[in-house]
Symmetry: C2
Subunit: 305 residues, 2 copies
Amino acid sequence: MKSVNLVVLGTLAFDSIQTPFGKVENVLGGSATYFSLAARNFSEVGIVGVVGKDFPHEHLEFLKNKKIDLRGVEKTEGKTFRWEGYYEYDMDQAHTLKTELNVLETFEPKIPDEYVGCEYLFLANTDPEIQLEVLKRIKPRHSFCDTMNFWIEHKNAELTELLKKVDGVFINEGEARQYCKTPNLIQAGRKLLKLGPKKIIIKKGESGALFFSDKEFFVAPAYPLEIVKDPTGAGDSFAGGTVGHLAKHQEFTDAAIKKSMVCGSVVASYVVENFGVESYKKLKHEHIQERYDTFKRIVAFDHEF
Amino acid sequence: MKSVNLVVLGTLAFDSIQTPFGKVENVLGGSATYFSLAARNFSEVGIVGVVGKDFPHEHLEFLKNKKIDLRGVEKTEGKTFRWEGYYEYDMDQAHTLKTELNVLETFEPKIPDEYVGCEYLFLANTDPEIQLEVLKRIKPRHSFCDTMNFWIEHKNAELTELLKKVDGVFINEGEARQYCKTPNLIQAGRKLLKLGPKKIIIKKGESGALFFSDKEFFVAPAYPLEIVKDPTGAGDSFAGGTVGHLAKHQEFTDAAIKKSMVCGSVVASYVVENFGVESYKKLKHEHIQERYDTFKRIVAFDHEF
């Protein structure tokens, strides 16, 4: 049986979000949702995750219609994971008001046979012990993980163990500084490389992202937006666009990663222009092409010194 | 009489600086000092400023030996401007401990005839009324200004008057947000353009700089440094490298500004690697060329989507 090309371990959630531009309640969210909706623009993608009995059929249909493989999504007794938060005027960080783990508390990932041995695996932010277990069971050709401050603080050893086993890391700048105990992101990137992962991507929000490998350093800018309505899901969308584009081309080279990061930035730029997953409803290939071309222009300068 | 190509209005100062990497006392500093030491790598440059009787001959000799024109620097009764500050672990902002205006309190700019009608004028951060007066008296072909939070708060109308009269602005991200009353830098850039200046450069520290004109948007990354010992003077050095390079080529086009911003970033990257103006003592043209070439690489990605 042909295995799925790209798999993401992550959450499907109900989000309630308030920003200076409005408010939505109990909308479809979660790391696996954003990641897969971004990745599916480039590659087939399957989700490993869990929802509760309250998760509506229409959300599953929406994802299925986007050709996202849900064979690894278990529907179980209990309520779906919920997140409630808000962003202030500057939109630079999410403030959590409430997190209800619900079905995540007893989550035991079910992994379809077709996911085993996939080309690319993305382990979205969750307990590093679960990330390690899924990595071990899926045995992908290439793997990336993300994480957050809570695990850096409370499961540092397990996280370090995970970092030694993945091929690449997506981490935001605050968490990179926290984990590496340095305010300098270039030092942080180099420290992470020394731990084992060969490809480090540090996410800087509206300042773009940095890429480190043993041979390369690359700066991907963020797309210049006048209106950001809701930053929720930007990081997972960036990762989804990046790894999705990589998975499409099956090349695990620095050149491919740099190009893929620009695709990730483009997808994320569309997502934050609307609340929740709204932008994904009308995102087309030509939109991605259009902003990719803009990216070429906004970093270009005359090479003659 | 041939006029000087590039003139800067700004300060010459004694700085006392503490960072996690060390401490220096009463070293040569000031906006005009950093600006001119950066600009002189590309263009002739003259200073309009004032020092006190305590300003040592060796500092003036150092600047003169760098071929900086000091005919507009007045030595007057009283003490030189002093700044004392420190940076915390994250180095992202200067904390002022003490400012002694001294001779700046009664500063009346003396402008040599040779400075009048210069090609480029940079009005470093100071009272916008003084900036306006110097702009009016020098009548440059092209002018840029900088400013800071204090003037945005206390002389907003005068600052707005100035912005209507200059061709370009260098402003850091916090001040752009404050003046334009928006957290979004793209909106801030567009608002500043509407006021009058045709070229807007928003400085983002370790995240580089943004450029806005009516036709162009450009992102200049910052050079990736593992060690930043002292960020003092980075902004003025960036402006000095940028405007100096522009003045050398005498082109006031968007393409020239983009290339010049990369030169500005390169010069600033050397400056922050050492305390005060130390790096300028050994900065050579080949060093600038070397990092300029690196800049080309770190923003490059495959143009085939």
